[in-house]
């Protein structure tokens, strides 16, 4: 019995090791469930035969860029911001990123770099605010160092949709709460951005209180905020984004130049609604 078990083990150990020159090298920051889901989505559509994975939290101080080069992959998938920062010096291999909120702040600006951003298009949020919430004045509080690009995109979308953005700057949560009070009477809807300078446990409560007291609906970027007072959220699914990145990678592996495959925003997002908050605000919303 023991001999049989050892033979089975030996076969399993040998399976997959010949993949020394992996077709795709995956670099990811940590082993976290959303990253794993995104990776599974990628593998489902990229159609690659061999994948080698470097997890930064396991490798600690290793020179990952050098390790990636030595693996001679045809493409690098960077999952998360930390991974994209670590491979930004690679210019000779196509790099596709995934699960990165603000890729422009990572310094990975080469022509070989493309990927799927984590933010839902600003136009989706703003047209929802205008059509479903009846808001022509949408309030945003943000730290330009962190979400500047998203706000720039929002300005352009607002101009197209004829919406007025009321923007306040905050460098830390305390300032965010102060700035929130200045929006009283100035906005018809509030849009919460994924900005760590602004979104904390305390500030979310302040946003929810502001929303309730001033009857201004709060729209968030993740469904977890529905329970804290947001009326709606556009949620992105890591597996969906992984599949989208997989399709981009497939095009590059089939011969397309990475600079001909421009970065994309999530193709799919799911509107989630808190019906009780909506009812309290006199809104009729459907998911």
């Amino acid at each position: 019995m023991n001999r049989l078990i050892l033979h089975i083990l030996a076969v399993l150990l040998l399976w997959g090791f010949p993949a020394f020159a992996a077709e795709v090298v995956v670099v990811q920051g940590e082993r976290m469930a959303p990253f794993e889901a995104a990776l599974r989505g990628f593998e489902a559509t990229a159609g690659v035969r061999s994948v080698e994975r470097f997890v930064l939290s396991d490798l600690r101080g290793a020179d990952v860029a050098r390790a990636v080069r030595e693996a001679r992959p045809r493409l690098v998938l960077a999952v998360g911001r930390d991974a994209l920062v670590r491979v930004r010096e690679i210019r000779e291999i196509p790099v596709v990123y995934l699960m990165v909120a603000a890729p422009e702040t990572t310094g990975a600006v080469g022509r070989n770099v493309t990927g799927v951003e984590m933010n839902v298009p600003a136009e989706r949020y703003l047209s929802f605010c205008a059509k479903e919430l009846g808001g022509r004045r949408v309030g945003i509080i943000h730290n330009p160092a962190r979400t500047g690009a998203q706000v720039r995109e929002a300005r352009e979308a607002a101009q197209r949709l004829g919406i007025t953005l009321v923007i306040r700057r905050a460098d830390d949560p305390r300032e965010a709460v102060r700035e929130l009070s200045t929006l009283k009477g100035e906005v018809d809807a509030l849009w919460l951005l994924p900005d760590p300078s602004v979104v904390t446990r305390d500030t979310v409560e302040a946003f929810a209180l502001f929303s309730q007291q001033n009857r201004v609906p709060l729209v968030a970027f993740a469904a977890k905020y529905l329970q804290h007072g947001a009326v709606a959220a556009f949620e992105v699914d890591p597996a969906d984004m992984g599949r989208q990145a997989g399709r981009m990678a497939r095009r590059i592996l089939d011969g397309a130049s990475p600079d001909r495959v421009p970065p994309e925003q999530p193709a799919r997002s799911h509107l989630k609604v808190n019906p009780t908050t909506a009812r309290n605000l006199g809104l009729a919303l459907k998911e």
Binding site: W15, F17, P34, R40
Partner: protein, 634 residues
């Protein structure tokens, strides 16, 4: 000098040194409160790591990974039936010790938890404490003599995460026929040079719990320090308890990416053990010192190295007295002095589809056991272990083969293989399959010196396809051979040693709803059919049905939870009562939430409806009682 009374409660028995220690902690607590309220605020480091970003989008438990094979894996790639309890969940329980936490886990039976800090025992669907490894920082809490772990002596404030594996995992963790409770302790805080928390609670019957934690990182040096004192006069005669604990973790990050870590863990627990046979009462004093020195280092980009030296000292005394006269009762008075030193090295190689972990462990243990003043056991054991496991992740499929081979000087060699597989049917549905051979290391106690072996077969499904509902179901069949048991020849009253075969089969179902209006519901049910194959009878004392229900609320300012647990102990003849649910209420009010500090008042109502839940008559569970306290973090 007057002789000390054998009937002293914990408060008087431990004398002035404990009182001085608890007074010191109390003073320290108020000093810390004062310093927090008056000190200038420190600013937390502004970093946008992946984890911090993802925590904006997801709840922390949605990011969980586990280390059941000694190398981290996401739960979605883990074939074993693993339950993970986070520090936040422990805090929401207002728990004092590990026993209080285990009591709330579906499929776990906790007995003898008669007061905070009591000498509680626990089982996983019939797998007794003797078959379950409890590890703190990778070092066993179990003694070598009986493989018993005093979970009532483990403070919860040092715990970052508990991973509970309810199946044999000997291929990774050695003697673990029933499973593993793996305690991962807190790391030094990255948010500043001086952060921490302090809490004090008090309740009926002199129940007091004072704790403090300090943590921080200065350049490459990180520290985490914790200390606490827990005491209670108990809720039945002779059930007083007192625990003291100190914990330190120091971490030095090397310039080239590795790190060196030193931990020291001191636990002292001194519970009384109720009245037995209406004649005697006993008190334990168990002191444990555990220390580790570990190095983590990346040898190459694919190969990481971990080396750990460990040492433990255990000093256990059971002092038994006659109720009638107060005199020591020597036949049951025992003492056990154990020492263990050892080391382990682990290499993890990541290549292609594989994450391969292999290692070598060495332990030298000794035990001196004194009964009735006579040294009856004086043994040593050398143990060499070799283990190898692989996690093969291929698209939606994960395969985890593992083997371990162990050579011991005391009880021969042991081989244990395991094989696990997971398949993600969809993004929301996961199938699990796991089979393993496990063993329980022969105890140094000669009465239980045979090697017990067993196999498990498990299959499970985990799904969140139904909106707002997470479901997990597991079917299990565990077989254990060569279990040592004793019975008496009723004619001659001679003790007869038996070797038995037990089969435990059943299902475990857990459910949790998504949070709606800041509220969510949890439920767990476990059915276990445990049979003794020698007699064909059901095994007494193995809970046939267990239920756990909970209604939870948390709006970040107020939180509350009503939890109920029920164990049908199936222990006729033990004099126990177990027809009632035990309902507890935990509530908290975060009355101050500043940018860098918060303060919370909390209250717990135990056994609100005076339910009865105990398998054996002397160990009656407490009736309704209340406690409350203040917790401050900065």
């Amino acid at each position: 000098m007057p002789a000390p009374s054998p009937f002293n409660t914990a408060k008087t028995r431990v004398g002035t040194s404990f009182r001085r220690f608890s007074s010191l902690l109390l003073g320290l607590f108020f000093l810390v409160v004062l310093s927090i309220l008056t000190a200038p605020r420190t600013v937390h480091a502004d970093t946008d790591s992946d984890r911090e970003l993802l925590e904006l989008y997801y709840e922390p438990h949605d990011l969980t990974v586990t280390s059941a094979t000694r190398s981290p894996r996401p739960l979605s790639r883990s074939a074993e039936n693993i339950t993970v309890i986070s520090a936040d969940e422990i805090e929401a329980l207002n728990a004092h010790t590990l026993a209080d936490v285990l009591e709330k886990i579906p499929g776990v039976q906790v007995a003898y938890n008669t007061a905070p800090g009591a000498a509680a025992g626990f089982e996983f669907a019939g797998a007794t404490t003797r078959h379950i490894q409890v590890l703190i920082d990778g070092v066993p809490l179990n003694d070598q003599l009986d493989n018993f772990a005093l979970v009532g002596g483990v403070p919860v404030q040092i715990i970052e995460r508990i991973e509970i594996v309810k199946s044999p995992v000997s291929s990774a963790w050695s003697s673990a026929l029933g499973g593993v409770v793996n305690i991962v302790t807190k790391e030094p805080s990255q948010h500043g040079p001086f952060t921490g928390s302090a809490s004090f609670s008090g309740g009926e019957n002199g129940t007091r719990d004072a704790r403090g934690e300090f943590s921080g990182t200065i350049d490459r040096f990180g520290y985490y320090l914790s200390g606490g004192n827990l005491q209670s006069n108990g809720f039945r005669p002779f059930s007083a308890t007192e625990n003291n604990n100190l914990y330190a973790k120091l971490r030095w990050n090397l310039s080239d990416g590795g790190s060196v870590r030193l931990t020291v863990n001191y636990l002292k627990t001194a519970p009384q053990e109720a009245i037995v046979l209406d004649l005697i009462s006993s008190r334990l004093t168990n002191r444990q010192l555990q220390s580790t020195l570990a190095l983590d280092y990346a040898l190459t980009d694919r190969l990481t190295f971990n080396a750990m030296l460990k040492g433990t000292r255990l000093d256990y005394n059971r002092f038994v007295t006659l109720l009638a006269t107060g005199e020591p009762y020597l036949p049951r008075t025992v003492a056990n002095d154990e020492k263990t030193v050892g080391g382990a090295t682990t290499l993890t190689w990541r290549q292609g589809l594989h994450t391969l972990t292999g290692g070598v462990e060495f332990d030298h243990g000794s035990s001196e056991f004194i009964k009735a003043g006579v040294k009856t056991i004086d043994v040593t054991n050398d143990k060499y272990s070799f283990f190898l496991n692989d996690t093969i992740a291929w698209e939606r499929f994960t395969l985890t083969p593992a083997v371990r081979y162990e050579l011991t000087s005391h009880a021969g060699d042991h081989f244990s293989p395991s094989l696990g597989a997971t398949l993600s049917l969809t993004d929301k549905t996961l199938l699990r399959f796991y089979t393993a051979s496990g063993y329980s290391m022969p105890l140094l106690n000669p009465d239980y010196a045979s090697q017990e072996r067993g196999w498990t077969l498990q299959a499970g499904i985990e799904s969140s396809e139904i909106p707002y509902l997470w479901l997990k179901g597991t079917w299990f069949r565990n077989t254990v051979d060569r279990i040592t048991a004793y019975e008496y020849n009723t004619d001659t009253w001679e003790e007869i040693r038996l070797s038995e075969r037990h089969v435990r089969e059943g299902v475990e179902v857990q459910a949790k709803t998504a949070s709606l209006f800041n509220s969510w519901f949890t439920a767990g049910y476990v059915f276990t059919d445990a049979k003794n194959r020698r007699t064909g009878d059901e095994i007494p004392g193995v809970a046939r049905h267990t239920w756990d229900l909970g209604l939870h609320y948390d709006d970040r300012t107020f939180r509350g939870a009503v939890t109920g647990h029920f164990r049908w102990w199936n222990n006729p003849g033990g004099g126990g009562q177990y027809k009632d649910f035990i309902w507890d209420l935990n509530a908290g009010w975060r009355f101050y939430q500043g940018r860098n500090a918060e303060a919370e008042l909390f209250v717990t109502g135990h056994n609100l409806f005076d339910g009865k839940q105990y398998p054996l008559e002397p160990y009656v569970n407490p009736d309704r009682w209340f406690e409350g306290g203040l917790r401050i973090k900065w």
